[in-house]
């Protein structure tokens, strides 16, 4: 087999960061080569060098055996390099099909667009992905998971020989991941080389042929995926073993109910959702993409208006019409979309950590104590292992996983009694993940109530004391956590569609 890509001695520096130190990497035709490493290890940066977005500061890059200097993304595309970016880079105001074919629209004469062909071709790609998506939907209206699918479709449409996938499954759940893997296998069979970046360790064995590990911007090693235990790879990444502990379900029979949601409704997205959560409990929310979990969380938090429904905190009826009401009532919500809803990306780490709690740093006259903010930020940088040159670095310059940690830090510091985490570990590396799990468990044991929405079933199962499952806006059931519940049971509830004609008043 020929080497599609050969990178040797790649160097890249940013102000204050030596992001790539003498990194080597190669890719063969027809293989899936996984690239692993902690948050901020330099994976995305290496891929951006390969796809012509960043110029490299040193080293050699050969594509199809030819040494090349890439002048820009177009040059890389022309050499057959396609990339799915870690951070979604879509045009929210355009439709799905228009996004996929941006720059390569089917044209008629005189620069006219062939919109019919555009939609048809997009539809063909979706069909090949087994994806139900109207090509004419405006991208901004899609959930983050669907947007991720659009990114994948876009990358596939290039029919690239070298396909880079930077955390394509971060926002996907098992069903979609299975579809994606089927696609990857087809591509492999066609001789496409795939570079696959993910923090989900279980995916490695399923899909990859070789694994390259990076740490702190440097190359650590390359191993065959089939005969290397995952624990070995993890220790290569983290430099130590990561133990995963099974969930221990505390006895909460005497605990007070902290949050009680009754008959929450909003349009077709949320239908009669009722549940309650006790002090010290971790309630997991499972469901397929678009099941309505995010919608429920946003409605409780006051981010979206609700049609009806009562929310009681500690038995007290709360009228929550805005997030500030929710925070006052002691509810915090970590959004699934950090870029749009979680971070003030132009501001620095320090301010983002303090964003929900500025009042705590202010004197009566409203003057801020910057020193106290710095101390706090540094404390969380340390606690969560946020990789940043300083607490005054703008968050947009951090790696994806480190940005996620900043959002988590913001809510940890706010210290709410009820915390809703929507996809909290999106893009977070294994080591940090288990740290975050530990933190959540600690928060719960301190008497808080935690809701975890996650598309990763193992995550839900490893954390939750109880598991709520949603399908099409309805809460289809609440299962006990721990070993008693199997993935199959959850999946059954997650696909439990409502009968077409649901009789009035029947419980969901």
């Amino acid at each position: 087999m020929t080497d599609l890509v050969r990178m040797t001695g790649i160097e890249k520096r940013f102000p204050g960061v030596h992001a790539l130190k003498n990194v080597s990497f190669d890719l063969k035709s027809g293989e899936v080569h996984a690239l692993m490493g902690e948050n901020g290890a330099g994976k995305s940066t290496l891929m951006k060098v390969l796809s012509g977005i960043y110029p490299k500061d040193g080293g050699e890059l050969a594509i199809n055996g030819q040494a090349v200097e890439l002048g820009g993304p177009r040059a890389a595309q022309d050499l057959g390099v396609g990339i799915i970016h870690q951070e979604l880079s879509l045009m929210n105001d355009l439709t799905v099909a228009q996004n996929i074919f941006i720059g390569r629209e089917p044209r008629l004469s005189f620069g006219r667009l062939d919109e019919a062909a555009l939609n048809r071709q997009a539809q063909e790609i979706f069909a090949s992905m087994n994806l139900a998506l109207d090509p004419k939907t405006v991208v901004g209206e899609l959930t983050i998971a669907k947007q991720q699918m659009v990114e994948i479709a876009k990358a596939l449409s290039y029919k690239s020989r070298i396909l880079i996938m930077d955390e394509p499954t971060a926002a996907l759940n098992d069903a979609e991941i299975a579809e994606l893997f089927a696609i990857i296998r087809r591509l492999k069979a066609d001789g496409v080389g795939v570079i696959y970046i993910s923090h989900k360790m279980d995916e490695l064995k399923q899909i990859s042929d070789r694994v390259t590990v990076m740490r702190d911007g440097a190359y650590v090693g390359t191993v065959a995926a089939s005969d290397t235990p995952v624990s070995k790879i993890i220790s290569m990444m983290v430099g130590r073993e990561v133990i995963s502990e099974a969930v221990v379900i505390p006895d909460l029979s005497d605990a007070d109910v902290l949050l009680d949601v009754k008959d929450l409704n909003r349009g077709r997205e949320i239908r009669d959702v009722s549940f309650s959560i006790k002090k010290g409990e971790i309630l997991g929310f499972a469901g397929l993409m678009g099941a309505g979990r995010t919608e429920v969380a946003r409605a409780i938090f006051g981010a979206d208006p609700k049609d009806s429904g009562d929310i009681r905190v500690r038995g007290q009826l709360c009228s929550i019409s805005s997030p500030s009401d929710a925070v006052k009532a002691g509810i915090g919500y970590l959004s699934e979309d950090r870029k749009h809803f979680g971070l003030a990306t132009g501001m620095d780490v320090r301010n983002n950590v303090a964003l929900a709690s500025l009042d705590r740093f202010a004197s009566k006259a409203g003057v801020l104590d910057d020193e106290a903010m710095r101390v706090t930020a540094v404390e969380y940088i340390d606690k969560l292992g946020i990789r940043t040159p300083s607490d005054t670095q703008e968050v947009r310059l951090l790696s994806g996983g480190n940005q996620q940690k900043v959002v988590i830090a913001k809510w940890l510091y706010r210290d709410c009694d009820i915390l809703i985490f929507d996809e909290p570990t999106r893009g977070i590396d294994v080591g940090a993940k288990s740290e975050i799990y530990k933190l959540m468990k600690k928060l719960a044991s301190e008497g808080r109530a935690i809701i975890v929405i996650s598309s990763e079933l193992p995550e839900v199962m490893r954390l939750s004391h109880r598991i709520a499952v949603m399908c099409e806006g309805r809460l289809t059931g609440i299962l006990p956590g721990g070993d008693e519940t199997t993935q199959e049971e959850i999946m059954h509830l997650a696909t439990l569609r409502a009968p077409v004609m649901q009789p009035e008043g029947e419980p969901a």
């Binding site: 977005i53 820009g72 993304p73 177009r74 595309q77 970016h85 880079s89 879509l90 045009m91 929210n92 105001d93 355009l94 228009q98 941006i102 720059g103 629209e105 044209r107 005189f110 620069g111 006219r112 667009l113 919109e115 019919a116 939609n119 048809r120 539809q123 979706f126 069909a127 087994n130 994806l131 139900a132 998506l133 109207d134 090509p135 004419k136 579809e179």
Partner: protein
């Protein structure tokens, strides 16, 4: 998983009306309400001649607002539309009156000058990375000064070019349908709007216009030469300002070199009232035209009602806020 059903693409006109048809019809409602209100308040308002006066008053502003729409959809802004219009008018005046060229050359000169100046702004913005506000503010001042310089600070009259005033004042429609003496200026506005709508909705340039405003970086990362397309949008907007220059010169049968300042704000206001977002990525020419009509109806109606001038200003301000507010409320409901 099921497959989405493929629907066929509707015809262009249907699409034009349909793109967020709901919204547009609702914005239309503010306009209709204004028309009804003024008709009730004054019997003189709803005359054919006054309706035509309103349309005529919209023509120049409307064309400028269409130009501004294109730029604003890319996420930029164009403060130079008014003075560019004047500059093009002056150039036409020189070509036709001082050089005695035939009319078609004058028309080409106006549109060409507009495109060229637009291209300049576009180059400043795309290549030199100057913020659109500054680049077009600079152009606005440069063109304002140059108009005065090349005209010798004097108006240029088109008395030697018979028929020049017919470009805007004549009425091809009126010649055929005498009851409907719609001036050509209005016809031209309509054609410009239709063409701009077509470009936006159906061509590659239009697609990139929206894409640039939506997420320029993503477009660039997709390998599109964003600089070139951005320059093209500004050049097209400039060419449209050239048409506005012809219209105003024809309406005044003269090129008034000092005119044009303040027109940019009115054009941008029409665009925003029409529902185009100043942050780019969304907008429509139809909305802009409705926005321009709202402004023109408001101004004319208050005058016909003989409202004192200082109160006209107050009421105009209040109604602009209310119209947009009503639109917001309706959109939320829709």
């Amino acid at each position: 998983m099921s497959l989405a059903n493929t629907t066929s693409t509707p015809s262009f006109l249907a699409r034009m009306v349909n793109t967020g048809a709901h919204q547009k019809l609702l914005a239309f409602a503010s306009l209709i309400l204004l028309l009804i209100g003024f008709s009730i308040a004054s019997p003189n308002f709803m005359q054919t001649s006054n309706m035509i006066a309103i349309l005529q008053a919209t023509s120049v502003n409307g064309v400028l607002a269409v130009a501004a729409t294109l730029v604003i959809i890319t996420g930029g802004i164009d403060l130079s539309v008014g003075t560019l219009m004047t500059f093009c008018a002056v150039i036409t005046g020189i070509v036709l009156t001082n050089f005695g060229m035939p009319l078609p050359i004058g028309i080409i000169a106006a549109i060409g000058t507009g495109a060229l100046c637009g291209l300049c702004s576009g180059t400043f913005i795309a290549k030199m990375k100057i913020p659109p506000f500054i680049a077009t503010l600079g152009m606005m001042l440069i063109l304002k000064g140059l108009s005065l310089v090349i005209s010798g600070t004097r108006p240029i009259y088109f008395n030697d070019t018979p028929g020049f005033d017919q470009i805007s004042r004549g009425s091809l429609i009126g010649d055929v349908l005498p009851m409907l003496p719609i001036p050509n200026g209005v016809l031209i506005l309509f054609l410009v709007a239709l063409a701009a709508s077509y470009v936006l909705g159906r061509t590659v340039l239009g697609r990139y216009t929206f894409a640039l405003g939506s997420n320029e970086e993503a477009v660039r990362l997709s390998g599109v030469n964003t600089d070139r397309w951005k320059m093209a949008v500004y050049a097209l907007a400039g060419a449209i300002c050239g048409i506005a220059g012809l219209l105003i010169a024809s309406r005044l049968n003269s090129a008034q070199p000092a005119l044009g300042l303040g027109y940019e704000l009115e054009a941008i206001a029409a665009v925003v009232i029409g529902g185009t977002s100043l942050s780019g990525g969304r907008g429509s020419v139809l909305g802009t035209i409705i926005g321009a009509l709202i402004m023109a109806v408001l101004t004319n109606g208050l005058r016909v009602l003989s409202v004192a001038q200082e109160w006209q200003t107050v009421v105009t301000g209040a109604i602009i806020i209310l119209a947009v507010y009503a639109d917001m409320v309706r959109r939320k409901k829709a």
